[in-house]
Amino acid sequence: MTATDAKLVVDGLAKRYGDKVVLNGVDLAVDEHEVVCLIGPSGSGKSTILRCVDLLDTIDAGRIYLDGEDITAPGTNANAVRRRIGIVFQSFNLFPHLTVINNVTLGLRKVLKVSKADAEGRADEVLARLGVGDHRAKYPEQLSGGQQQRVALARALVTEPEVLLLDEVTSALDPELVGDVLSAIRALANDGMTMLIATHEMGFAREVADQLAFIHEGQVLESGPPAQILSEPSQERTRQFLRRVLDAGRL
């Protein structure tokens, strides 16, 4: 794991909320066009890692590099960094007062100063690719959870980020809606999008990930190719976690 080669490197990341240590020295690397999935029990710190990478949370120790450049260094323009990274949240977080098309074009128009016509052209293309093009004039509350999440994905993708972070994007969805969102992400992976994904969907993780990282109590306990982690984990904790997941019928 060298700091300069990979697209995204997390080095010794630590984060506390008050007295509670959430991340305790996380090391991760995501190569260009690679998909890394973070697995682990709830509360292990997966979401916090993603929020820190997008500079939505301050960090207490460690460094994060994007293309070898330290984005956690003082004086870094956080807005500029966020433009290069897209993130999709568990609960969609679409803007309820804006239509689908305005949700998706807001960043293009206000941040990248793209003209309205160009922005809508690009947004329509992405929405259509994700199968929600027909809903462009609707408000988020008029859409199903799966549709909202694909609009959220479109909003993150339309600015053509170099890295995409997905934070348990299917956890808030009804089971029958999960498939559409997962196949959209699968298509992105096939297109070579660099992604860091926190997920509970083990079957999906095995299929789409190049690397799996098992997070436990704010640390990467082990990482490697999915086949290795899922079938012959070296750590007892990983084995316990996988057994529980297996019992819950999610594999």
Binding site: R51, L56, R82, G86, F89, F95, P96, V111, A152
Partner: protein
Amino acid sequence: MTTEQSRGLDPLEGRGPGLFTTDRTRRQTLGAGLREEGARGALIATASTLVFLTVAVALVVNSPNWPKVRNQFFNPEDFRDAWPKVVDGFWVDMQMFAYGLVAIPILALLLATARSFRGPAFFPIRLLAIMFIDVMRGIPLILLILLLGFGVPALDIAGLPNGAMFWGVTALTLSYSAYTAEIIRSGIGAVAESQRASARAIGLTQFQTLRYAILPQAVRNVIPAIMNTVVSLQKDVALVSVLGVREAVREAQIITSRSFNYTAYVAATVLFLAVSIPLVRIVDHLTQRDRKRRMQVAQ
């Protein structure tokens, strides 16, 4: 085995196939009963209102000094004489109201935005906004009007307007902006934190996040509360009369001090009510509609 136990074991026992029919019949009777009750309710309401009004009017009219009071406050001749002047004055009130309606939202939005900026770099801005709001909310409005209306023109600073109306409206604007800013800020607080995160995540700056993601939702949350402030402002413009601005109350004052008859005040009251009651009804309607909308979303 007791009767209770046997009922517990078979709840439908003894009710037979007639169950559905009886139930429906009962419901129909109940419906008719409710309708009857509704009609009777309206009748009772009307009757009790009439009785109440009759008693209240009788009490006033039969009070020992009523003839004198009627002449002092409800003299038709004085009313006719006062009316044109009071209406002219009321027109000035409505102008001040209109200026306030333009200036207050602008200043209130600026203050709410300044108070909502985060991060140590914006501490001075936040501090200034907090101090301004505290001071403006802490001064009785009438004192603020007197201080600005008499104080600032006395300074005789070149370039500053000296009009009493200008400083009256300025005092109203400062005070009302402070209150409105606090209302907007409570609306900002009610917008989920995740909205801010997702706006920052697509690269919006802190200001853009407020402007395009947070404020539109915040303002929508507090429209009923803001409308109440509007109703209040519509009446408080009359306070500017203390500066000698010839608005409705001032005109009425001038007339009463000449004739020693208070009918002019009643004329002014009628004018204020003519605007404020419809305004209050509209606010009520908006509040109701908003409440229904929220309940639908909650379902």
